[in-house]
């Protein structure tokens, strides 16, 4: 499954989209850090190392372009924090487990049953072409840690979460 980069090149070519050095720099960084959920600015800084003349506006324009073409997807984990991830234009849904404690978005793949999607379409008439889910809770590491120690800030935040959880039970 390493040909996602190849798929991307192919997709761009197929659509006669010029692959400028700026765009390629962005694409390469997205590929290299594809497990990292980069923000636009992080992406900009990293891509600048490949192509130093690069401007931030160009990064935004490139991200928008890539998105239209289906090469990447925006994910919003927090208000005002947009992250981007490369995706194989051929396929591929994956979802995120966002820990309320450490905030780290962990990825999960393929658990989603296609039947569920069919069911939704049947019931609503809505034709689903794409989807994306976020799950909130506590990751394994944070659950273990919070049983033992508890640094000030972390504990406070955890308490909030617990309260929320209680309210729902």
């Amino acid at each position: 499954m390493d040909d996602i980069l190849h798929s991307c090149y192919q997709e761009l070519q197929k659509r006669h989209i010029r692959l400028t050095p700026q765009r390629e720099a962005v694409l390469l960084v997205l590929y290299r850090e594809k497990d990292e959920h980069l923000t636009s600015y992080e992406l900009f800084e990293k891509a600048k190392k490949i192509y130093p003349e690069l401007g931030l506006a160009t990064v935004y324009r490139t991200l928008e372009l890539f998105q239209e073409v289906g090469l990447l997807r925006e994910v919003q984990f927090d208000k005002g924090l947009t992250q981007y991830e490369l995706r194989d234009p051929q396929d591929g849904h994956h979802h995120h487990l966002v820990c309320k404690h450490c905030g780290y978005p962990q990825e999960i793949d393929g658990i989603f049953p296609e039947k569920l999607l069919e069911l939704i379409t049947e019931e609503t008439g809505f034709m689903i072409t794409d989807y994306c889910c976020q799950f909130y809770g506590y990751c394994e590491k944070c659950r273990v840690n919070s049983d033992k120690d508890g640094k000030q800030a972390k504990v406070e935040e955890l308490t909030r979460g617990e309260v929320l959880k209680d309210a729902r039970t």
Copy 2:
């Protein structure tokens, strides 16, 4: 299912959170327009009609407070567009079908099987306390309409979508 407002009042009282006229105005608008997915500014304008001295900053502060308490949830359909929806602090997950054509986020409830969540927890060790999914595609209305007529802008946008869909098939 009309007692969501009641649950909210109860929840605030339980936590000894003062219900100022500003906060109540926000709550009432959220309740009244609970199917509308208001943005902060829309909310502000509508709440202002109830309590004209209301300031925008207060709306933001109130939204943050309500969110901590579990009275509402933020939903991000588009970059830079945060919408808020009231939720029963007692329960309730629901998801959205976002039409790529008309952009209208339609809600669906309860289709999500609990087993799926358990499965995820088993496989990842991640304890899910909350989740939220967005499905993208074309709603029934838009699918029907696009078969018949096609206004300029709409057709153009639809084409984009179709292309994306093709790329995935």
